[in-house]
Amino acid sequence: MSTSLLIVQTLNGLQLGVLLFLISAGLTLVFGVMDFINLAHGVQYMLGAYLAVMFYALTGSFLAALVLGLLAALAFGLLLEFAVFRHLYDRDHLEQVIATFGVILFLNQGVKFVWGASPLSLPIPEIFSGSVVLMPGLLYPIWRLVIIGSGLLVALGLYFLVGNTRVGMLVRAGATNAAMVSALGVNIRRLFMIVFGFGTMLAAFAGIMIAPILSVEPGMGDTILILAFVVIVIGGIGSIRGAFVAALLIGLVDTLGRSFAVDILRLFMSPSPARTVGPAIASMLIYLLMAVVLYIRPTGLFPAKGQS
């Protein structure tokens, strides 16, 4: 276990955390303000990536692909909201889960239909490709730093937006008590659309930023969806601050856990069982974490609606 490996994995953990935050922020807001469980949030992340790949092929510019991809993803998200989600706001969570599960099935298959099943890729923009020297002997990919940086910027922007603007205040109020906000005469439908659209763009942004590193393929949103739900549950539903803390926590625990689980276990047991048990425990770590958090705080760390 060398220091450079530790630093690299910590940065990787931060990068995963930031990515998770981008996805969870939209998810927790939609859930908190609109009381809507959107399982299809993961495919919106995937769609962002696919649209960016498509626009890159058309324009040859990453920036253009990013902007156009975001806009297209937003448009598609609003279309979904209008066609499907709108009818589900007053239904119970179970029905929302099933309907959005149907959306996942449709879109996962849909991208296979349009773009085929083989993984696609998006190249890193020239200026950000390559690695930077962090320490003697320690190289780290610039693009990953860009992801961390942009994610933190977005987090800062969201923090400012939600804390200091009128819309942000309405969102915070809505997350605490949507019925009251509506009763106060606020156009709740428009607020929902804004929240939803924003969430979609965040998810798409995450998908586009990660596309150069991961492969773009059908179903790429599924695993990240589960992780995002773990994040918002640990963080507390409706809370952006909670999502931020939980996302970074999970990013770090998952990444560092996977890297060092075997090594840590080797301190307690012999190499062979450590190597078998290690990866299994590593995969389970975040779920164990969630179980522990929910045991102590059954509504998450920073629930918007407060402890009942």
């Binding site: 969570h93 029905e95 239909f113 969630m290 179980a291 059954p298």
Partner: protein
Amino acid sequence: MTPASGAGRRFAVSDLVALAIFVIFALVPFAAKLGPEAYVLTLVTRVMIFAIAAVSLDLIVGYGALVSFGHAAFIGLGAYVAGILASHGIGDALVALPVAIIVSTLFALATGVVCLRTKGVYFIMITLAFSQMAFFTASSLSPYGGDDGLTIHARDTFAGFAWMKGDGALYYVVLGFLLLTFLLCRALIASRFGRVLRGARQNSTRMAALGFEVFRYQLVAYAISGALAGVSGFLLANATNFVSPAYMSWQRSGELIIMVVLGGLGTLYGAIIGAAAFIIAEEWLAGFTEHWKMIFGPLLILVVVFARGGLIGLMSLIAGPRRD
């Protein structure tokens, strides 16, 4: 004024529907002789196996409002018990089945103690978390196939007697278990215990004020439900001669929920119909196009948006009100 359903009636219309379902199941192997026998038999066996799990899930979701998104874990546990024991030479249901039930029950009790402290979406997530843990554990069991799964060479015997050897025999064994499961759950619902569970679904504050420690009753219900799903898994392993971590994936848990809701929550026989509808639709659509999910997905959405109460809800005029 409409009287409350079930008041004083020993047998309701819903029982007739259930009876019809079981009669149909019993007759399928004979009808199948007219067509592609083996295929139909395997398909309906699979339907019945998942119906057992779906009914067990309806017990806690439909009647108890405990939405478990980790029920596939119990199926997986039951299956793995069968597989692991078989790989060590223990291939008799007299041993394997009770062990499967015990393991599932223990897992349910251990995880239920944590899960039942939460409510709503938190409960959904934490049940998911535990099933993911089971999933990853199974994936890492390299001596038992890990990710690739484990083949079972022969179906379990019963006290030495090869009771499930032929597909026809297996079919009726599974049907028997489904009938037992249905009758058990039906009795449970009507019992004192079931009444507490149903009351807790409607108003847990009131239940506590009456003197019921709701947590305990829910835990017992959760354990029973898990045990039954474990039986389903045991049968699944025997039917397919194969065990894999995929049996416990969260997508599988999602599918179980779909089956129960699709059929109609809180009716028990609805869960059977839902399992049949889901699996048969899956098979049928897949025959048309490899992109059948693009049809199935929107179909689910349409059912949720327009057919509240699932297929049973659509049939409610015929079948009568909810059995409560």
